[in-house]
Each structure stands twice: as structure tokens, then as C-alpha cells.
């Protein structure tokens, strides 16, 4: 779109047919509804040259017309006048929904795709007002902007809009500062990516205990009201405040992701952790309350404890099972955290992170052949971006590091009923103050 609109070069965009609605929608919200687009069958990935040549020689599966005829016409056929002018479309969102019965409103919310298909609490003015009373911030204050994907336009939202979604999720007013902080990250828990990623939210500081979050047994769900509804609110506010999360339009996750129901929301078990809290690692004081968000959550590896003799091999095996495009977050029960100290000597999280960085390795040829590495890392390497550019020079059988050191993280959570722990593939985005939103 940039080359057409900003550089004045006649352009045709080619897509696979599964992306019909989303491609046209993205063009429209970017003010280019007449953008010439041609479609071929899905998938392109993994097809042979001959198969792809058949796509080129074949017909657009949506129009039935020859693909290359559409391409040539897209570059040469004049517009009928609709696409060449400058027109501004006003869009707005009403504050209220038209009054109706509870039953009808529940149906409307579900049919409008404003829910996660679990029952919601209807956001009456009274309930929203009670939520708003839990912050000193004004209802019309802008909290942030969010979008489901890089290509779409960012939507804006106010404190009141966040409160509406918090009510719908069943959250209590005392949780609202955490939910506002999540909204303030601007990081969507409903990304549109085909990879079906979910978010993860880690709460630190005094707020955890003030609102009775659970960092112990069953912390990662579904055994605590605050953990459950804060995480659900993060998902609902993401899908609604960014302008939707509709399959085929604003959500393209091929398989979906069960983690998305409450965005893996939990507090760190600071009291039982032998290490400094996550937010302190990121420049906050222990007395600050924060929430940290991660994205890209799909993959999980787990095991029980770390064994005295072969723990290094076991952890390496877990790391090798992760896709190298998404870095590892060690989500560790306090029992195993202490084992990492006793058996590995990692008296600080940083020491464990150093070890992970050094030991998560695979042959260079295998690393570069991962599809996601090809899509997202290889182009950066060829562009000269480090450390990838240097890594690209490695011999095929040279063992290269899978992750960047600064992308590896450790969080402690769990009730010490046993030493089970897991590695979650997740990309750390940011840590935001909850206190700023009280």
C-alpha cells in the first residue's frame, strides 16, 4: 500500500484466498478500498515450483478469472473514478447501546462478537460507575491505542471504555487499576496472527495481595477470582477496544488458542521465590505494583524438578523443543527455583538466564531452516541486523544460540505441591505501573 499511495507506483497485491476478507478490510481502513488485489489458492508455503506455476497459470479462486489477466489489468485498467479522489469517512462509536431486555442484550453482545462466548456481566451505567470509582482517573481520559496487527489502524479508548470491558469480564472494582495498566500497555491480547498467539500477564508488588490474587497452588487457573477475571478482562478489552477480533477479518489464528481465555494471568510468587521479583529486574522498586505483558504464547514444555545427574541435558532438550523464533520464559515453581540454586548454582535469575542463553543451541543449518526464522529473522540477518548477521556466517553444523540473551526471562509461581515447572515460549513486551492507574 505504501508504494502505491506514497510513491505513486501502480501496484497489484497478490494474496492467498483465505485472506480475502482481511486483505480487503485492511486496504479499506487504510483508505485504499480500490487497491487492486489478486488471489491465488492457499497455501503458497511448501508448494513446489510446478504447483506454484499452476497457481500463476490458473484462475483466481474468488473471481474465477485468470490470475495473470487480473494482474495485468490491475496495472493497466483505469479506475472508474472511485479510487482516485480524497474522501474522509467519519467513524464513531456510540456510548450507549439501545435499551433492551437483558436476554436480548446478552444475545446482541454475543452476535456482535463483543464476548468470548462465555456469559458476561452486562455493563450497566451503575456497574460501570462502580468500576470507575476504583481509580482517580477521569472516565474520558484516553488510556491508549491498540490494534490487532501491524497493518490495521489503531483504535483509541478511554478509562470508561476499559471499565465497560472490566465489568463484562466479571472483575471487581478493586482489580480495575491492574486492568487499566494492562490496557495502557497498548499490547493486544487478541493479535490477529495466523499463529494463534495468546498473551501472558504477570503481576508484581503489593497489589497482588491487596486484591487477593493467587500466586500459589493453581495460580495459572482456574482457581482465583482476581486471576481469572483480570485475565479475561485483558482479552475482552483487547478485542473490543482495538476494533474487533473476528475470524477471517480481524483474527486469522489458524487453530486458535485456549490460553486466550484469560491470557495466562497470574502474580509472581515473590514471597516464596529465592530470586528478586520480575518487576525489580526491570527497574521498579519492590514496593511498586506493576503488570508485565508478554505476547506470542503458544508453546509450552514441562518437566518435574531438575535431576542431579542429567538436568542440563533435560533442560537443553526442553529448549530444543521450542521454536527459535519465540524466546523461552521459565515459569518455575519455588521448589524447582531452589533446585536451580542447589544444583546449578544460580543464585540470581541472571545467572540462570546466562546459562539458558549459552546452552540453547542447535546446528546453524537447522536454525536457519525453521519457517519462522526464514520469515522473521533471516530477512533481518541479510539486512545486516545483529546478532543475526554474524550468525548467518556460521558453518552449517556449527552450534548457534537459538535466542537473544535479553529475550530470555524467568518468573516464579506455584504452590509447592511439587516441583513441576514449564517453559513458555513468549516475547516480553513491557512492564507498566499499576500505581499510576489507582
Amino acid at each position: 500500500m505504501t508504494i502505491e499511495a506514497q510513491y505513486g507506483v501502480p501496484t497489484v497485491a497478490m494474496h492467498t484466498d483465505k485472506f480475502d476478507r482481511v486483505a480487503r478490510s485492511v486496504a479499506a481502513v487504510n483508505g485504499m478500498s480500490e487497491l487492486r488485489q489478486v488471489f491465488v489458492p492457499q497455501p503458497v508455503m511448501g508448494k513446489t515450483q510446478a504447483e506454484l506455476r499452476a497457481y500463476v497459470d490458473g484462475r483466481d479462486p474468488l473471481t474465477g478469472r485468470p490470475v495473470m489477466q487480473e494482474v495485468v489489468e490491475g496495472l493497466t485498467a483505469p479506475f472508474d473514478g472511485r479510487g482516485v479522489g480524497t474522501i474522509e469517512y467519519d467513524r464513531s462509536t456510540p456510548r450507549l447501546v439501545e435499551a433492551d431486555t437483558e436476554e436480548n442484550l446478552h444475545r446482541l453482545f454475543m452476535e456482535s462478537r463483543w464476548t468470548d462466548y462465555l456469559p458476561i456481566v452486562l455493563p450497566t451505567e451503575e456497574r460501570v460507575a462502580a468500576m470507575l470509582a476504583a481509580t482517580r482517573r477521569k472516565p474520558d481520559e484516553v488510556v491508549g491505542r491498540m490494534r490487532p496487527t501491524h497493518f490495521r489502524e489503531a483504535w483509541e479508548y478511554t478509562v470508561e471504555k476499559v471499565a465497560v470491558n472490566a465489568v463484562m469480564a466479571g472483575a471487581r472494582p478493586e482489580y480495575f487499576p491492574v486492568i487499566l495498566a494492562l490496557a495502557a500497555t497498548g499490547v493486544s491480547a487478541r493479535g490477529s496472527t495466523t499463529s494463534s498467539m495468546a498473551a501472558m500477564a504477570v503481576v508484581n508488588g503489593p497489589i497482588r495481595n491487596e486484591i487477593k490474587m493467587n500466586a500459589g497452588t493453581g495460580a495459572l487457573a482456574p482457581y482465583n477470582h482476581a486471576n481469572a477475571t483480570i485475565g479475561r478482562a485483558y482479552g475482552l478489552l483487547s478485542q473490543n477496544l482495538q476494533g474487533g477480533s473476528v475470524p477471517g477479518l480481524t483474527y486469522m489464528g489458524s487453530q486458535g488458542n485456549n490460553y486466550a481465555y484469560n491470557s495466562i494471568t497470574f502474580p509472581e510468587n515473590e514471597e516464596r521465590s529465592p530470586w528478586e521479583p520480575f518487576h525489580v529486574q526491570h527497574g521498579f522498586r519492590p514496593t511498586d505494583s506493576t503488570v508485565s505483558v508478554f505476547s506470542g504464547c503458544r508453546a509450552t514444555a514441562y518437566t518435574l524438578g531438575i535431576r542431579e545427574k542429567h538436568w542440563r541435558e533435560h533442560v537443553r532438550n526442553m529448549l530444543r523443543g521450542m521454536d527459535p523464533h519465540i524466546p523461552p520464559v521459565f515459569v518455575i515453581d519455588p521448589i524447582t527455583a531452589r533446585q536451580f540454586i542447589d544444583r546449578g548454582g544460580f543464585t540470581k535469575k541472571d545467572a540462570l538466564i546466562d546459562w539458558v542463553y549459552e546452552n540453547a543451541r542447535m546446528p546453524a543449518a537447522e536454525f536457519w531452516d525453521y519457517q519462522l526464522v526464514q520469515n522473521y529473522i533471516y530477512p533481518r540477518a541479510t539486512f545486516g541486523e545483529e546478532p543475526w548477521a554474524t550468525k548467518l556466517k556460521a558453518a552449517p553444523d556449527e552450534m548457534v544460540q537459538m535466542f537473544k540473551r535479553e529475550d530470555i526471562h524467568v518468573v516464579v509461581v506455584g504452590g509447592e505441591t511439587n516441583g513441576y515447572w514449564r517453559i513458555v515460549g513468549a516475547t516480553y513486551a513491557k512492564t507498566v505501573s499499576v500505581d499510576d492507574w489507582r
Partner: protein, 98 residues
């Protein structure tokens, strides 16, 4: 559930206005022109675009095609590539949006 009507708030955020952008004038013909095939570097799009390039070679040999991978990932703007195409090309085919 009560049959009384109640008033509730709309949960959607506020979209920005959309400003329609003018599209580039089309070419009268591709004959003698240079068409850039811009590879998004995503999911084997390079293999696909080389088949498009082969099609032009066979069916429209008067069209010069240039296969041009984006400088980095598709998520990053690539002004150097856009400038090159504007300076040296007449049209572009961008693919493949998956």
C-alpha cells in the same frame, strides 16, 4: 431474567477516521515497461514470484521484470526499495500476502 428494558454501555473503542488515499494512475500498456516483483519474504513468496516472473518471460517478453526482495521483514517499512522502484520501475507486483 427480567423483561424490563435496561441501558448498557457499548464496549467498542473509538476508530480513527479513514481518509481515502488516491491510487496511482494506471499504465496504458506494460510493453517496454519495468515491473518490479516485490518479495515479502514470507512463507516461500520468493518461489511464487519467480513463477510470476517466468510467466512474463513466456507470455509478455516485452515486459522487463525485476525480482526484488524486501530489505528486511515485511513488518518494516522499506523506503530504499520503494525509492528504487519509483526511480527505475513503472509498476509493482507485491506478494504474497498469506
Amino acid at each position: 431474567m427480567s423483561a424490563d428494558k435496561i441501558m448498557v454501555l457499548n464496549p467498542m473503542g473509538f476508530p480513527p477516521n479513514v481518509v481515502n488515499k488516491p491510487l496511482a494512475p494506471r499504465l496504458s500498456t506494460l510493453e517496454g515497461k519495468t515491473v518490479y516483483l516485490v518479495d515479502c519474504r514470507f512463507d516461500d513468496s520468493d518461489v511464487f514470484l519467480k513463477q510470476v516472473q517466468a510467466w512474463f518471460g513466456e507470455h509478455m517478453p516485452g515486459v522487463r521484470t525485476v525480482f526484488k526482495p524486501l530489505s528486511s521483514v515485511y513488518l518494516k517499512d522499506d523506503p530504499a526499495t520503494w525509492e528504487e522502484i519509483k526511480a527505475r520501475g513503472h509498476a509493482a507486483i507485491v506478494g504474497v500476502g498469506h
